[in-house]
Symmetry: C2
Subunit: 317 residues, 2 copies
Protein backbone atom coordinates (compact mmCIF):
# COMPACT_ATOMS: atom_id res chain seq x y z
CA UNK A 1 0.00 0.00 0.00
CA UNK A 2 2.60 2.46 1.13
CA UNK A 3 4.87 1.63 -1.78
CA UNK A 4 2.04 1.98 -4.21
CA UNK A 5 0.64 5.32 -3.15
CA UNK A 6 4.18 6.60 -3.01
CA UNK A 7 4.90 5.75 -6.64
CA UNK A 8 1.58 7.24 -7.67
CA UNK A 9 2.41 10.51 -5.95
CA UNK A 10 5.75 10.61 -7.72
CA UNK A 11 4.16 10.38 -11.13
CA UNK A 12 1.93 13.37 -10.46
CA UNK A 13 4.46 15.79 -8.93
CA UNK A 14 5.35 17.61 -12.10
CA UNK A 15 8.58 16.19 -13.52
CA UNK A 16 8.08 12.79 -15.01
CA UNK A 17 11.32 10.87 -14.64
CA UNK A 18 11.79 7.40 -16.01
CA UNK A 19 13.69 6.19 -12.99
CA UNK A 20 14.56 2.51 -12.81
CA UNK A 21 12.35 2.22 -9.75
CA UNK A 22 9.31 3.01 -11.91
CA UNK A 23 9.81 -0.15 -13.92
CA UNK A 24 8.77 -3.07 -11.88
CA UNK A 25 9.73 -6.35 -13.43
CA UNK A 26 12.45 -4.68 -15.44
CA UNK A 27 15.76 -6.30 -14.61
CA UNK A 28 15.74 -8.40 -11.47
CA UNK A 29 12.21 -9.15 -10.21
CA UNK A 30 11.66 -7.33 -6.98
CA UNK A 31 12.32 -9.94 -4.33
CA UNK A 32 9.70 -9.04 -1.77
CA UNK A 33 6.82 -8.27 -4.11
CA UNK A 34 4.91 -11.54 -3.85
CA UNK A 35 5.13 -11.71 -0.10
CA UNK A 36 4.16 -8.05 0.17
CA UNK A 37 0.99 -8.77 -1.78
CA UNK A 38 0.28 -11.84 0.32
CA UNK A 39 0.60 -9.77 3.48
CA UNK A 40 -1.81 -7.25 2.00
CA UNK A 41 -4.35 -9.95 1.17
CA UNK A 42 -4.02 -11.33 4.66
CA UNK A 43 -4.96 -7.91 5.95
CA UNK A 44 -8.22 -8.16 3.99
CA UNK A 45 -8.79 -11.68 5.26
CA UNK A 46 -8.36 -10.54 8.85
CA UNK A 47 -10.74 -7.66 8.20
CA UNK A 48 -13.37 -10.08 6.91
CA UNK A 49 -13.12 -12.20 10.05
CA UNK A 50 -13.38 -9.12 12.24
CA UNK A 51 -16.48 -8.15 10.29
CA UNK A 52 -17.93 -11.65 10.67
CA UNK A 53 -17.27 -11.43 14.41
CA UNK A 54 -19.05 -8.07 14.68
CA UNK A 55 -22.09 -9.20 12.70
CA UNK A 56 -22.28 -12.40 14.73
CA UNK A 57 -22.15 -10.40 17.96
CA UNK A 58 -24.95 -8.22 16.75
CA UNK A 59 -26.97 -11.28 15.66
CA UNK A 60 -26.59 -12.82 19.09
CA UNK A 61 -28.14 -9.84 20.85
CA UNK A 62 -30.86 -9.51 18.20
CA UNK A 63 -31.78 -13.14 18.81
CA UNK A 64 -32.14 -12.47 22.50
CA UNK A 65 -34.29 -9.38 21.85
CA UNK A 66 -36.51 -11.21 19.40
CA UNK A 67 -36.98 -14.07 21.87
CA UNK A 68 -38.12 -11.62 24.51
CA UNK A 69 -40.59 -10.03 22.11
CA UNK A 70 -42.32 -13.38 21.44
CA UNK A 71 -43.76 -13.24 24.98
CA UNK A 72 -43.19 -17.00 25.13
CA UNK A 73 -41.28 -17.73 28.34
CA UNK A 74 -39.53 -20.79 26.97
CA UNK A 75 -38.48 -19.15 23.69
CA UNK A 76 -37.45 -16.02 25.58
CA UNK A 77 -35.27 -17.84 28.11
CA UNK A 78 -33.67 -20.24 25.65
CA UNK A 79 -33.00 -17.64 22.95
CA UNK A 80 -31.44 -15.36 25.55
CA UNK A 81 -29.02 -18.06 26.66
CA UNK A 82 -28.42 -19.20 23.11
CA UNK A 83 -27.53 -15.57 22.42
CA UNK A 84 -24.88 -15.74 25.13
CA UNK A 85 -23.31 -18.82 23.54
CA UNK A 86 -23.49 -17.34 20.03
CA UNK A 87 -21.83 -14.16 21.31
CA UNK A 88 -19.01 -16.29 22.70
CA UNK A 89 -18.71 -18.08 19.35
CA UNK A 90 -18.46 -14.62 17.77
CA UNK A 91 -15.79 -13.68 20.31
CA UNK A 92 -13.75 -16.64 19.07
CA UNK A 93 -13.90 -15.25 15.53
CA UNK A 94 -12.38 -12.06 16.81
CA UNK A 95 -9.70 -13.93 18.73
CA UNK A 96 -8.99 -15.89 15.55
CA UNK A 97 -8.51 -12.63 13.64
CA UNK A 98 -6.03 -11.46 16.29
CA UNK A 99 -4.03 -14.67 16.00
CA UNK A 100 -3.95 -14.31 12.22
CA UNK A 101 -2.60 -10.82 12.75
CA UNK A 102 0.16 -12.27 14.90
CA UNK A 103 1.03 -14.78 12.21
CA UNK A 104 1.03 -11.94 9.68
CA UNK A 105 3.53 -10.04 11.82
CA UNK A 106 5.93 -12.97 11.55
CA UNK A 107 5.63 -13.09 7.75
CA UNK A 108 6.55 -9.40 7.70
CA UNK A 109 9.93 -10.37 9.12
CA UNK A 110 10.61 -12.49 6.03
CA UNK A 111 9.45 -9.65 3.79
CA UNK A 112 11.83 -7.24 5.54
CA UNK A 113 14.81 -9.53 4.98
CA UNK A 114 13.77 -10.02 1.35
CA UNK A 115 13.66 -6.26 0.93
CA UNK A 116 17.06 -5.79 2.57
CA UNK A 117 18.72 -8.48 0.46
CA UNK A 118 17.70 -6.85 -2.80
CA UNK A 119 20.25 -3.93 -2.66
CA UNK A 120 23.06 -6.40 -1.94
CA UNK A 121 22.25 -8.35 -5.09
CA UNK A 122 21.87 -5.19 -7.13
CA UNK A 123 25.21 -3.89 -5.88
CA UNK A 124 27.02 -7.09 -6.84
CA UNK A 125 25.45 -6.99 -10.29
CA UNK A 126 26.46 -3.35 -10.74
CA UNK A 127 30.10 -4.03 -9.90
CA UNK A 128 30.17 -7.03 -12.23
CA UNK A 129 28.77 -4.94 -15.09
CA UNK A 130 31.21 -2.10 -14.45
CA UNK A 131 34.14 -4.49 -14.34
CA UNK A 132 33.19 -6.16 -17.61
CA UNK A 133 32.79 -2.81 -19.36
CA UNK A 134 36.13 -1.59 -18.08
CA UNK A 135 37.97 -4.76 -19.11
CA UNK A 136 36.61 -4.30 -22.62
CA UNK A 137 37.18 -0.54 -22.90
CA UNK A 138 40.35 0.04 -20.86
CA UNK A 139 41.99 -3.35 -20.26
CA UNK A 140 45.04 -1.64 -18.77
CA UNK A 141 43.18 0.48 -16.23
CA UNK A 142 44.42 0.23 -12.64
CA UNK A 143 40.83 0.61 -11.55
CA UNK A 144 40.26 -3.01 -12.56
CA UNK A 145 42.15 -4.29 -9.54
CA UNK A 146 40.16 -2.07 -7.23
CA UNK A 147 36.91 -3.25 -8.77
CA UNK A 148 37.92 -6.89 -8.56
CA UNK A 149 38.59 -6.46 -4.87
CA UNK A 150 35.26 -4.70 -4.50
CA UNK A 151 33.55 -7.58 -6.29
CA UNK A 152 35.07 -10.14 -3.91
CA UNK A 153 33.66 -8.17 -1.00
CA UNK A 154 30.28 -7.81 -2.72
CA UNK A 155 30.19 -11.54 -3.40
CA UNK A 156 30.96 -12.28 0.23
CA UNK A 157 28.21 -9.90 1.25
CA UNK A 158 25.86 -11.59 -1.16
CA UNK A 159 26.66 -15.05 0.19
CA UNK A 160 25.87 -13.81 3.67
CA UNK A 161 22.66 -12.21 2.47
CA UNK A 162 21.56 -15.46 0.80
CA UNK A 163 22.28 -17.44 3.97
CA UNK A 164 20.40 -14.89 6.07
CA UNK A 165 17.48 -15.05 3.65
CA UNK A 166 17.14 -18.84 3.69
CA UNK A 167 17.65 -19.02 7.47
CA UNK A 168 15.07 -16.36 8.26
CA UNK A 169 12.64 -17.55 5.57
CA UNK A 170 12.54 -21.11 6.82
CA UNK A 171 12.40 -20.23 10.48
CA UNK A 172 9.74 -17.53 10.15
CA UNK A 173 7.71 -19.51 7.63
CA UNK A 174 7.43 -22.31 10.17
CA UNK A 175 6.68 -19.90 12.98
CA UNK A 176 4.00 -18.01 11.03
CA UNK A 177 2.12 -21.13 9.99
CA UNK A 178 2.56 -22.68 13.41
CA UNK A 179 0.61 -19.72 14.78
CA UNK A 180 -1.86 -19.76 11.85
CA UNK A 181 -2.74 -23.46 12.06
CA UNK A 182 -2.84 -23.40 15.87
CA UNK A 183 -5.30 -20.51 15.58
CA UNK A 184 -7.53 -22.55 13.25
CA UNK A 185 -7.52 -25.41 15.74
CA UNK A 186 -8.09 -23.15 18.76
CA UNK A 187 -11.11 -21.47 17.19
CA UNK A 188 -12.47 -24.82 16.06
CA UNK A 189 -12.12 -26.61 19.38
CA UNK A 190 -13.58 -23.74 21.38
CA UNK A 191 -16.49 -23.29 19.00
CA UNK A 192 -17.25 -27.01 19.17
CA UNK A 193 -17.51 -26.77 22.96
CA UNK A 194 -19.89 -23.82 22.61
CA UNK A 195 -21.97 -25.28 19.79
CA UNK A 196 -22.47 -28.55 21.63
CA UNK A 197 -23.77 -26.72 24.69
CA UNK A 198 -25.95 -24.64 22.38
CA UNK A 199 -27.52 -27.85 21.10
CA UNK A 200 -28.32 -28.88 24.67
CA UNK A 201 -30.15 -25.59 25.08
CA UNK A 202 -32.07 -25.94 21.82
CA UNK A 203 -33.20 -29.41 22.86
CA UNK A 204 -34.79 -27.94 25.98
CA UNK A 205 -37.49 -26.25 23.88
CA UNK A 206 -40.61 -28.40 23.61
CA UNK A 207 -42.06 -28.01 20.13
CA UNK A 208 -45.07 -30.28 20.56
CA UNK A 209 -47.85 -28.54 18.61
CA UNK A 210 -50.73 -27.12 20.64
CA UNK A 211 -54.36 -26.65 19.55
CA UNK A 212 -56.03 -23.21 19.48
CA UNK A 213 -56.92 -21.97 22.95
CA UNK A 214 -54.62 -24.48 24.63
CA UNK A 215 -51.97 -23.04 26.93
CA UNK A 216 -48.35 -24.09 26.87
CA UNK A 217 -47.18 -25.85 30.00
CA UNK A 218 -45.04 -23.52 32.09
CA UNK A 219 -41.34 -23.51 31.22
CA UNK A 220 -39.23 -25.03 33.99
CA UNK A 221 -35.88 -25.25 32.23
CA UNK A 222 -34.38 -21.93 33.37
CA UNK A 223 -32.08 -23.56 35.92
CA UNK A 224 -30.99 -26.29 33.55
CA UNK A 225 -30.22 -23.55 31.05
CA UNK A 226 -27.95 -21.81 33.55
CA UNK A 227 -26.14 -25.10 34.01
CA UNK A 228 -25.56 -25.24 30.26
CA UNK A 229 -23.92 -21.80 30.36
CA UNK A 230 -21.79 -22.84 33.33
CA UNK A 231 -20.71 -26.01 31.56
CA UNK A 232 -19.76 -23.99 28.48
CA UNK A 233 -17.70 -21.63 30.61
CA UNK A 234 -16.01 -24.50 32.41
CA UNK A 235 -15.29 -26.17 29.09
CA UNK A 236 -13.66 -23.03 27.70
CA UNK A 237 -11.65 -22.42 30.85
CA UNK A 238 -10.36 -25.98 30.85
CA UNK A 239 -9.40 -25.85 27.18
CA UNK A 240 -5.76 -26.07 26.22
CA UNK A 241 -4.15 -26.52 22.83
CA UNK A 242 -3.12 -30.10 22.29
CA UNK A 243 -1.42 -30.52 18.93
CA UNK A 244 1.76 -31.97 17.54
CA UNK A 245 4.36 -29.27 18.19
CA UNK A 246 6.18 -27.59 15.34
CA UNK A 247 9.82 -28.44 15.96
CA UNK A 248 12.53 -25.93 15.20
CA UNK A 249 16.29 -26.17 14.94
CA UNK A 250 16.59 -22.44 14.49
CA UNK A 251 16.72 -21.67 18.21
CA UNK A 252 20.16 -20.13 17.85
CA UNK A 253 19.33 -17.89 14.93
CA UNK A 254 20.04 -14.34 15.99
CA UNK A 255 19.30 -10.93 14.54
CA UNK A 256 22.20 -11.57 12.21
CA UNK A 257 20.08 -14.14 10.42
CA UNK A 258 22.81 -16.69 11.10
CA UNK A 259 23.19 -19.64 13.39
CA UNK A 260 25.22 -19.26 16.57
CA UNK A 261 29.04 -19.36 16.32
CA UNK A 262 30.30 -22.97 16.53
CA UNK A 263 31.65 -22.72 20.11
CA UNK A 264 28.18 -21.78 21.32
CA UNK A 265 26.25 -24.25 19.25
CA UNK A 266 24.24 -26.80 21.12
CA UNK A 267 22.23 -29.63 19.71
CA UNK A 268 19.03 -28.72 21.51
CA UNK A 269 15.83 -28.77 19.55
CA UNK A 270 13.56 -25.97 20.61
CA UNK A 271 9.90 -26.69 20.37
CA UNK A 272 7.73 -23.68 19.69
CA UNK A 273 4.03 -24.00 19.77
CA UNK A 274 1.65 -21.12 19.38
CA UNK A 275 -1.76 -20.72 20.94
CA UNK A 276 -2.88 -21.34 24.50
CA UNK A 277 -2.43 -17.78 25.68
CA UNK A 278 -0.65 -15.88 22.97
CA UNK A 279 0.43 -13.41 25.64
CA UNK A 280 2.73 -15.97 27.18
CA UNK A 281 4.09 -17.01 23.82
CA UNK A 282 4.63 -13.35 22.94
CA UNK A 283 6.55 -12.85 26.14
CA UNK A 284 8.61 -15.93 25.49
CA UNK A 285 9.39 -14.68 22.04
CA UNK A 286 10.52 -11.30 23.33
CA UNK A 287 12.67 -12.92 25.98
CA UNK A 288 14.20 -15.25 23.43
CA UNK A 289 14.97 -12.29 21.20
CA UNK A 290 16.62 -10.35 23.98
CA UNK A 291 18.64 -13.38 24.99
CA UNK A 292 19.83 -13.79 21.43
CA UNK A 293 20.83 -10.16 21.15
CA UNK A 294 22.89 -10.41 24.32
CA UNK A 295 24.54 -13.58 23.06
CA UNK A 296 25.50 -11.82 19.88
CA UNK A 297 26.95 -8.89 21.78
CA UNK A 298 28.82 -11.34 23.99
CA UNK A 299 30.45 -13.18 21.11
CA UNK A 300 33.37 -10.88 20.38
CA UNK A 301 34.24 -12.10 16.92
CA UNK A 302 31.08 -12.71 14.88
CA UNK A 303 32.10 -15.23 12.23
CA UNK A 304 30.22 -13.37 9.50
CA UNK A 305 29.62 -9.73 8.66
CA UNK A 306 26.68 -8.42 10.65
CA UNK A 307 23.35 -8.06 8.97
CA UNK A 308 22.62 -5.08 6.82
CA UNK A 309 19.91 -3.01 8.39
CA UNK A 310 16.71 -2.87 6.40
CA UNK A 311 16.54 0.89 6.64
CA UNK A 312 13.25 0.76 4.82
CA UNK A 313 10.93 2.31 7.32
CA UNK A 314 7.97 2.12 4.99
CA UNK A 315 8.15 -1.65 4.98
CA UNK A 316 8.14 -1.91 8.74
CA UNK A 317 4.46 -1.08 8.92
CA UNK B 1 -35.16 -4.58 2.31
CA UNK B 2 -37.95 -4.98 -0.19
CA UNK B 3 -40.50 -3.57 2.21
CA UNK B 4 -38.35 -0.56 2.83
CA UNK B 5 -37.59 0.42 -0.71
CA UNK B 6 -41.28 -0.08 -1.45
CA UNK B 7 -42.39 2.38 1.18
CA UNK B 8 -39.75 4.83 0.01
CA UNK B 9 -41.07 4.65 -3.53
CA UNK B 10 -44.58 5.32 -2.29
CA UNK B 11 -43.57 8.52 -0.56
CA UNK B 12 -42.06 9.94 -3.71
CA UNK B 13 -44.81 9.13 -6.22
CA UNK B 14 -46.62 12.43 -5.99
CA UNK B 15 -49.61 12.09 -3.66
CA UNK B 16 -48.55 11.91 -0.06
CA UNK B 17 -51.06 9.87 1.88
CA UNK B 18 -50.87 9.35 5.60
CA UNK B 19 -51.86 5.72 5.40
CA UNK B 20 -51.69 3.67 8.61
CA UNK B 21 -48.99 1.56 7.01
CA UNK B 22 -46.68 4.57 7.03
CA UNK B 23 -46.64 4.68 10.81
CA UNK B 24 -44.49 1.94 12.09
CA UNK B 25 -44.69 1.50 15.81
CA UNK B 26 -48.01 3.32 15.93
CA UNK B 27 -50.58 1.12 17.59
CA UNK B 28 -49.55 -2.50 17.90
CA UNK B 29 -45.81 -3.04 17.53
CA UNK B 30 -45.19 -4.74 14.24
CA UNK B 31 -44.78 -8.37 15.10
CA UNK B 32 -42.13 -9.41 12.62
CA UNK B 33 -39.87 -6.37 12.87
CA UNK B 34 -37.23 -7.79 15.20
CA UNK B 35 -36.89 -11.02 13.32
CA UNK B 36 -36.80 -9.16 10.03
CA UNK B 37 -33.82 -7.14 11.28
CA UNK B 38 -32.12 -10.27 12.57
CA UNK B 39 -32.51 -11.92 9.18
CA UNK B 40 -31.01 -8.83 7.58
CA UNK B 41 -28.02 -8.89 9.94
CA UNK B 42 -27.54 -12.56 9.21
CA UNK B 43 -27.28 -11.67 5.56
CA UNK B 44 -24.35 -9.39 6.41
CA UNK B 45 -22.80 -12.09 8.56
CA UNK B 46 -23.00 -14.59 5.72
CA UNK B 47 -21.49 -12.01 3.38
CA UNK B 48 -18.56 -11.53 5.73
CA UNK B 49 -17.88 -15.27 5.81
CA UNK B 50 -18.07 -15.46 2.03
CA UNK B 51 -15.57 -12.61 1.88
CA UNK B 52 -13.29 -14.36 4.40
CA UNK B 53 -13.49 -17.49 2.25
CA UNK B 54 -12.56 -15.59 -0.90
CA UNK B 55 -9.62 -13.79 0.71
CA UNK B 56 -8.41 -17.05 2.22
CA UNK B 57 -8.58 -18.75 -1.19
CA UNK B 58 -6.57 -15.97 -2.71
CA UNK B 59 -4.05 -16.14 0.16
CA UNK B 60 -3.58 -19.85 -0.39
CA UNK B 61 -2.57 -19.42 -4.03
CA UNK B 62 -0.39 -16.41 -3.22
CA UNK B 63 1.44 -18.53 -0.67
CA UNK B 64 2.10 -21.17 -3.29
CA UNK B 65 3.36 -18.55 -5.77
CA UNK B 66 5.61 -16.91 -3.22
CA UNK B 67 7.07 -20.30 -2.27
CA UNK B 68 7.91 -20.97 -5.89
CA UNK B 69 9.60 -17.59 -6.22
CA UNK B 70 11.96 -18.31 -3.32
CA UNK B 71 13.77 -20.84 -5.56
CA UNK B 72 14.16 -22.99 -2.45
CA UNK B 73 12.91 -26.49 -3.35
CA UNK B 74 11.79 -27.32 0.16
CA UNK B 75 9.96 -24.02 0.75
CA UNK B 76 8.47 -24.25 -2.73
CA UNK B 77 7.14 -27.79 -2.31
CA UNK B 78 5.86 -27.34 1.23
CA UNK B 79 4.25 -23.95 0.63
CA UNK B 80 2.52 -25.32 -2.46
CA UNK B 81 0.98 -28.20 -0.52
CA UNK B 82 0.23 -25.97 2.45
CA UNK B 83 -1.60 -23.77 -0.06
CA UNK B 84 -3.75 -26.74 -1.05
CA UNK B 85 -4.73 -27.35 2.58
CA UNK B 86 -5.36 -23.66 3.25
CA UNK B 87 -7.56 -23.51 0.14
CA UNK B 88 -9.58 -26.40 1.52
CA UNK B 89 -9.87 -24.61 4.86
CA UNK B 90 -11.16 -21.61 2.89
CA UNK B 91 -13.61 -23.88 1.09
CA UNK B 92 -15.02 -24.84 4.48
CA UNK B 93 -15.67 -21.17 5.24
CA UNK B 94 -17.73 -20.97 2.10
CA UNK B 95 -19.61 -24.16 2.96
CA UNK B 96 -20.24 -22.69 6.40
CA UNK B 97 -21.72 -19.57 4.81
CA UNK B 98 -24.04 -21.77 2.73
CA UNK B 99 -25.23 -23.64 5.81
CA UNK B 100 -25.90 -20.34 7.58
CA UNK B 101 -27.96 -19.34 4.56
CA UNK B 102 -29.99 -22.53 4.96
CA UNK B 103 -30.58 -21.76 8.63
CA UNK B 104 -31.59 -18.24 7.66
CA UNK B 105 -34.16 -19.64 5.24
CA UNK B 106 -35.80 -21.49 8.13
CA UNK B 107 -35.99 -18.33 10.26
CA UNK B 108 -37.76 -16.63 7.35
CA UNK B 109 -40.59 -19.12 7.82
CA UNK B 110 -41.15 -17.81 11.35
CA UNK B 111 -41.01 -14.25 10.06
CA UNK B 112 -43.64 -15.05 7.43
CA UNK B 113 -46.02 -16.45 10.02
CA UNK B 114 -45.40 -13.46 12.28
CA UNK B 115 -46.25 -11.19 9.37
CA UNK B 116 -49.41 -13.13 8.52
CA UNK B 117 -50.66 -13.15 12.11
CA UNK B 118 -50.51 -9.38 12.41
CA UNK B 119 -53.61 -8.63 10.25
CA UNK B 120 -55.65 -11.14 12.27
CA UNK B 121 -54.81 -9.33 15.48
CA UNK B 122 -55.46 -5.95 13.93
CA UNK B 123 -58.84 -7.11 12.62
CA UNK B 124 -59.96 -8.38 16.02
CA UNK B 125 -58.92 -5.10 17.64
CA UNK B 126 -60.80 -3.11 15.00
CA UNK B 127 -64.03 -5.02 15.57
CA UNK B 128 -63.69 -4.63 19.34
CA UNK B 129 -63.21 -0.89 18.98
CA UNK B 130 -66.15 -0.54 16.62
CA UNK B 131 -68.38 -2.55 18.90
CA UNK B 132 -67.50 -0.49 21.95
CA UNK B 133 -68.10 2.76 20.10
CA UNK B 134 -71.48 1.56 18.81
CA UNK B 135 -72.62 0.33 22.25
CA UNK B 136 -71.87 3.78 23.64
CA UNK B 137 -73.33 5.83 20.76
CA UNK B 138 -76.23 3.69 19.55
CA UNK B 139 -76.91 1.07 22.23
CA UNK B 140 -80.10 -0.01 20.41
CA UNK B 141 -78.46 -0.56 17.00
CA UNK B 142 -79.14 -3.96 15.41
CA UNK B 143 -75.62 -3.80 14.03
CA UNK B 144 -74.37 -4.71 17.52
CA UNK B 145 -75.50 -8.29 17.15
CA UNK B 146 -73.80 -8.61 13.78
CA UNK B 147 -70.61 -7.15 15.19
CA UNK B 148 -70.70 -9.45 18.21
CA UNK B 149 -70.95 -12.44 15.90
CA UNK B 150 -68.11 -11.04 13.84
CA UNK B 151 -66.03 -10.62 16.98
CA UNK B 152 -66.56 -14.26 17.98
CA UNK B 153 -65.33 -15.34 14.58
CA UNK B 154 -62.36 -12.93 14.79
CA UNK B 155 -61.49 -14.24 18.24
CA UNK B 156 -61.56 -17.83 16.96
CA UNK B 157 -59.37 -16.80 14.09
CA UNK B 158 -56.99 -15.08 16.49
CA UNK B 159 -56.78 -18.16 18.72
CA UNK B 160 -55.84 -20.24 15.68
CA UNK B 161 -53.28 -17.64 14.63
CA UNK B 162 -51.68 -17.66 18.06
CA UNK B 163 -51.49 -21.46 18.07
CA UNK B 164 -49.99 -21.43 14.58
CA UNK B 165 -47.47 -18.81 15.66
CA UNK B 166 -46.23 -20.68 18.72
CA UNK B 167 -46.16 -24.02 16.87
CA UNK B 168 -44.22 -22.69 13.91
CA UNK B 169 -41.97 -20.49 16.05
CA UNK B 170 -40.85 -23.30 18.30
CA UNK B 171 -40.41 -25.86 15.56
CA UNK B 172 -38.57 -23.58 13.16
CA UNK B 173 -36.47 -21.99 15.91
CA UNK B 174 -35.18 -25.45 16.81
CA UNK B 175 -34.67 -26.37 13.19
CA UNK B 176 -32.81 -23.16 12.33
CA UNK B 177 -30.38 -23.43 15.23
CA UNK B 178 -30.00 -27.16 14.71
CA UNK B 179 -28.64 -26.30 11.26
CA UNK B 180 -26.66 -23.31 12.56
CA UNK B 181 -24.88 -25.15 15.39
CA UNK B 182 -24.30 -28.25 13.26
CA UNK B 183 -22.66 -25.95 10.70
CA UNK B 184 -20.34 -24.52 13.36
CA UNK B 185 -19.34 -28.04 14.37
CA UNK B 186 -18.94 -29.26 10.78
CA UNK B 187 -16.64 -26.38 9.86
CA UNK B 188 -14.67 -26.81 13.07
CA UNK B 189 -14.15 -30.56 12.79
CA UNK B 190 -13.17 -30.41 9.11
CA UNK B 191 -10.79 -27.51 9.66
CA UNK B 192 -9.14 -29.35 12.55
CA UNK B 193 -8.45 -32.31 10.25
CA UNK B 194 -6.93 -29.95 7.68
CA UNK B 195 -4.94 -27.86 10.15
CA UNK B 196 -3.43 -30.92 11.78
CA UNK B 197 -2.22 -32.21 8.42
CA UNK B 198 -0.94 -28.72 7.68
CA UNK B 199 1.18 -28.91 10.82
CA UNK B 200 2.66 -32.20 9.63
CA UNK B 201 3.69 -30.43 6.42
CA UNK B 202 5.21 -27.45 8.24
CA UNK B 203 7.25 -29.80 10.39
CA UNK B 204 8.83 -31.26 7.26
CA UNK B 205 10.75 -28.02 6.66
CA UNK B 206 14.24 -28.15 8.16
CA UNK B 207 15.09 -24.73 9.53
CA UNK B 208 18.59 -25.50 10.79
CA UNK B 209 20.59 -22.35 10.05
CA UNK B 210 23.27 -22.62 7.37
CA UNK B 211 26.50 -20.62 7.07
CA UNK B 212 27.28 -18.44 4.04
CA UNK B 213 28.27 -20.45 1.02
CA UNK B 214 26.90 -23.66 2.49
CA UNK B 215 24.29 -25.46 0.38
CA UNK B 216 21.05 -26.81 1.78
CA UNK B 217 20.77 -30.57 1.69
CA UNK B 218 18.40 -31.63 -1.09
CA UNK B 219 14.74 -31.79 -0.14
CA UNK B 220 13.43 -35.34 -0.10
CA UNK B 221 10.03 -34.79 1.49
CA UNK B 222 7.94 -34.42 -1.69
CA UNK B 223 6.45 -37.90 -1.40
CA UNK B 224 5.75 -37.59 2.29
CA UNK B 225 4.04 -34.31 1.48
CA UNK B 226 1.77 -36.06 -1.02
CA UNK B 227 0.88 -38.53 1.70
CA UNK B 228 -0.13 -35.63 3.93
CA UNK B 229 -2.53 -34.37 1.25
CA UNK B 230 -3.93 -37.87 0.78
CA UNK B 231 -4.43 -38.26 4.50
CA UNK B 232 -6.23 -34.91 4.63
CA UNK B 233 -8.52 -35.99 1.79
CA UNK B 234 -9.20 -39.35 3.41
CA UNK B 235 -9.93 -37.60 6.69
CA UNK B 236 -12.45 -35.25 5.06
CA UNK B 237 -14.12 -38.04 3.11
CA UNK B 238 -14.49 -40.15 6.23
CA UNK B 239 -15.94 -37.28 8.24
CA UNK B 240 -19.51 -37.47 9.43
CA UNK B 241 -21.41 -35.28 11.85
CA UNK B 242 -21.58 -36.89 15.25
CA UNK B 243 -23.55 -34.72 17.65
CA UNK B 244 -26.46 -35.10 20.03
CA UNK B 245 -29.50 -34.88 17.78
CA UNK B 246 -32.04 -32.10 18.18
CA UNK B 247 -35.26 -33.92 19.01
CA UNK B 248 -38.57 -32.68 17.70
CA UNK B 249 -42.17 -33.48 18.53
CA UNK B 250 -43.40 -31.29 15.71
CA UNK B 251 -43.26 -34.01 13.07
CA UNK B 252 -46.99 -33.76 12.42
CA UNK B 253 -47.11 -30.01 12.06
CA UNK B 254 -48.47 -29.20 8.62
CA UNK B 255 -48.75 -26.08 6.54
CA UNK B 256 -51.73 -25.22 8.73
CA UNK B 257 -49.26 -24.53 11.55
CA UNK B 258 -51.24 -27.05 13.63
CA UNK B 259 -50.59 -30.54 14.88
CA UNK B 260 -52.23 -33.44 13.06
CA UNK B 261 -55.93 -34.17 13.72
CA UNK B 262 -56.30 -36.57 16.70
CA UNK B 263 -57.17 -39.65 14.64
CA UNK B 264 -53.91 -39.33 12.78
CA UNK B 265 -51.76 -38.42 15.74
CA UNK B 266 -48.94 -40.76 16.56
CA UNK B 267 -46.47 -40.55 19.41
CA UNK B 268 -43.39 -40.81 17.23
CA UNK B 269 -40.54 -38.49 17.95
CA UNK B 270 -38.84 -37.39 14.79
CA UNK B 271 -35.20 -36.69 15.08
CA UNK B 272 -33.90 -34.09 12.68
CA UNK B 273 -30.27 -33.41 12.40
CA UNK B 274 -28.69 -31.09 9.92
CA UNK B 275 -25.35 -31.40 8.25
CA UNK B 276 -23.69 -34.34 6.57
CA UNK B 277 -25.03 -33.64 3.11
CA UNK B 278 -27.47 -30.81 3.26
CA UNK B 279 -28.78 -31.94 -0.12
CA UNK B 280 -30.24 -35.06 1.43
CA UNK B 281 -31.76 -33.15 4.29
CA UNK B 282 -33.22 -30.65 1.81
CA UNK B 283 -34.80 -33.47 -0.12
CA UNK B 284 -36.15 -34.99 3.04
CA UNK B 285 -37.61 -31.68 4.00
CA UNK B 286 -39.33 -31.27 0.63
CA UNK B 287 -40.69 -34.81 0.78
CA UNK B 288 -41.95 -34.26 4.30
CA UNK B 289 -43.67 -31.08 3.18
CA UNK B 290 -45.36 -32.78 0.26
CA UNK B 291 -46.47 -35.62 2.48
CA UNK B 292 -47.99 -33.17 4.90
CA UNK B 293 -49.84 -31.31 2.19
CA UNK B 294 -51.35 -34.52 0.94
CA UNK B 295 -52.38 -35.52 4.45
CA UNK B 296 -54.11 -32.22 4.88
CA UNK B 297 -55.97 -32.61 1.63
CA UNK B 298 -56.91 -36.13 2.65
CA UNK B 299 -58.39 -35.16 6.02
CA UNK B 300 -61.90 -34.04 5.00
CA UNK B 301 -62.84 -32.15 8.12
CA UNK B 302 -59.92 -30.11 9.35
CA UNK B 303 -60.60 -29.49 13.05
CA UNK B 304 -59.58 -25.85 12.78
CA UNK B 305 -60.01 -23.15 10.20
CA UNK B 306 -57.30 -23.45 7.60
CA UNK B 307 -54.39 -21.07 7.78
CA UNK B 308 -54.70 -17.63 6.36
CA UNK B 309 -52.40 -17.26 3.42
CA UNK B 310 -49.58 -14.83 3.95
CA UNK B 311 -50.34 -13.08 0.69
CA UNK B 312 -47.31 -10.94 1.31
CA UNK B 313 -45.17 -11.77 -1.66
CA UNK B 314 -42.54 -9.23 -0.73
CA UNK B 315 -41.77 -11.12 2.46
CA UNK B 316 -41.22 -14.40 0.69
CA UNK B 317 -37.89 -13.30 -0.66
Amino acid sequence: MLGRSHSKKKSTDGKHRFAISSFRGLGAPELSKKLRNLIKTQNHQIGAYEQAGRESQSLASQLSEWGESTEDDAVSDISDKLGVLLAEIAEQEDQFAQNLEESRGVLKQIRNVEASVQPTRTNKQKIQDELQKLKYKEPESTKIVTLEQELVRAEAQSLVADAQLTNVTRQKFKEAYDIHTAAVIERAEKQIILAQQARRLINMLDDTPIVPGEDRVAFTGADEGKEVLNDAETGLRGWSLNVDPIESNAGKIGNSGMGAPPQQEQSVTTVTTAGEGSVTSDQQRVEELERQQQEELASENPPYPTAEKTGNAALAS
